[in-house]
């Protein structure tokens, strides 16, 4: 008996519940879809609002932490052509270092992947270079190479090239053994094996390294400007902080982040246009 009485409310419960929840579920799913779309932007806006409010409520002085509004104001107070001058100076160094890194890394990776002797001789050296804190070496490089873009490009290059080399070597060596045997059975030769099979197989690895390296290139350019420069966003930030113009320094930082994001997106776009097959099916 107790079984049936216990069962009775159980069977009726969902029924009574179902009527009001059905439309609510509809609203819930549209709300979820809406959230899914705008949640990142909302979270970002909320963080900015909290930041803004906190600086007012706790009366934080702007040289400790400027409010977002103060940063925007400082950004607008600096004339556009001054911004463009600094942006161009940093971007030029970052791009030159980045392109130099690609130009050196890919052939170097091919050499390392092709010859065990070369890889055993050169790899330890590369690891030593990579393990050296570039920030500490930067002043030395600037003194050695003089005051021009050259030392800045070299510093950027040194920070950028290692991930590209390592990823490309991994990619070159990840080629299926069967394809290498196919190539050898056709007697196509080493250069065709690398050009037609190994390098394309390395492309997905290379692209991820290129994405990471965009950020590294901007870091490299800024580090170099910290050491010695009279233009560029790194210089602008250093200069602003030394005059306690912290909101302006933050504005410079925002521009740097924007540049990094733009370069990252650019590599992604290039991948989509030039080598769409290297993307997972869902992202094509």
């Amino acid at each position: 008996m107790s079984d049936t009485t216990a069962a009775a409310p159980e069977t009726t419960l969902p029924e009574t519940d179902a009527a009001p929840t059905a439309p609510a579920a509809g609203v819930g799913t549209t709300l979820l879809a809406w959230l899914d779309r705008f949640a990142p932007a909302l979270a970002f806006a909320a963080a900015l609002a909290v930041w803004e409010a906190a600086t007012w409520v706790f009366a934080i002085p702007s040289f400790l932490l400027p409010a977002p509004s103060a940063i925007v104001a400082a950004g607008l107070a600096t004339p556009a052509e001054v911004w463009l001058g600094h942006i161009w100076a940093t971007l030029r160094v970052a791009l030159m270092g980045y392109l130099l890194a690609i130009a050196v890394s890919v052939p170097l990776a091919v050499a390392l992947a092709s010859s065990r002797l070369l890889s055993r001789t050169l790899y330890p050296m590369l690891v030593v270079v990579q393990s050296t804190p570039i920030v500490a070496v930067a002043p030395i490089i600037v003194v050695t190479l003089g005051a021009s873009d050259l030392p800045r490009v070299v510093i950027t290059f040194l920070i950028t090239f290692f991930p590209i080399v390592v990823s490309t070597v991994t990619g070159l060596l990840s080629t299926p053994e069967e394809l290498i045997e196919l190539s050898r059975s056709l007697r196509a030769g080493r250069s065709r094996e690398i050009l037609h099979i190994r390098l394309p197989y390395a492309v997905p690895h290379l692209v991820s390294a290129l994405k990471i390296s965009t950020t590294l290139a901007v870091i490299g350019a800024v580090v170099a400007e910290f050491v010695a420069a009279e233009r560029g966003l790194g210089f602008f930030i250093l200069f602003s902080t030394s005059f306690f113009k912290i909101p302006a320094a933050f504005a410079g930082l925002v521009v740097l982040v924007a540049i990094s994001l733009a370069l990252f997106r650019l590599v992604g776009l290039a991948q989509k246009m030039l080598v769409p097959w290297s993307l997972p099916k869902s992202e094509r």
């Binding site: 394809l179 045997e181 059975s185 065709r192 037609h196 492309v203």
Partner: protein
Amino acid sequence: MQPPVISFKRLGQVFETAAGRAVTALDGVSFDIGRHEFVAVLGPSGCGKSTLLRLIAGLIAPTRGSVEIWGMPVTEPRDEIGIVFQRPTLLPWFDVLGNVTFPMRHKYGRVGEAERARARELLALVDLADFADKRIDELSGGMQQRVAIARALLLDPDILLMDEPFSALDALTRDEMSFELLRIWSERPKTVLFITHSIPEAVLLADRIVVMTPRPGRVREILDVPLPRPRSLATLTDPTFHALADHIRGTLFSRPAAA
């Protein structure tokens, strides 16, 4: 009597492992394969089947004895060989047609209209005529393996080497592919060396079956398959088919000493 296309002469292969131990993969393997013969090599994992294939392809040099093609010892890869591997290993940056013409591009650096036409013919042969410009990841595993077969046939090899080509496929696709292969082989006769783990597959496909012993790989037995051609679904219910399969099962699972 025609001279054999491939002959193994007391072939032996010893590998040095990374730990410095010597592993005898093949030992005293001798047999011949005739023109347009379909020979299946059957044996447990690690008995040296793939090694045998690499030796014919000239990808490795034998430690002892020799492999001869048309009476000439194999010293390097030769033009008259096409290879199909266990995995299709197609190139994702080319479409289907680009994959079939790849050997031409890879070997000679360019692909002419004649090769493209030939590739289309081969795609029709493997029943993929409408898939020439499809991407590789739009094909099923069985379709990809058909593309790999078409690729192996592009340069019109006399000899087709197949290393467990259907073992990565599901059972249904596998049976279908076996009959497909027989049809392709009857339309384009080739000398075929077909490596497999599967007894029914070997019996269904081959003229002769070479049964190997495990470590070191030796020839345990060479069996003629007296089943008539063309083979069909009816072959699978033929009493000879079952008698032969049972016999092989018996030898494979008996101790070498008892054999």
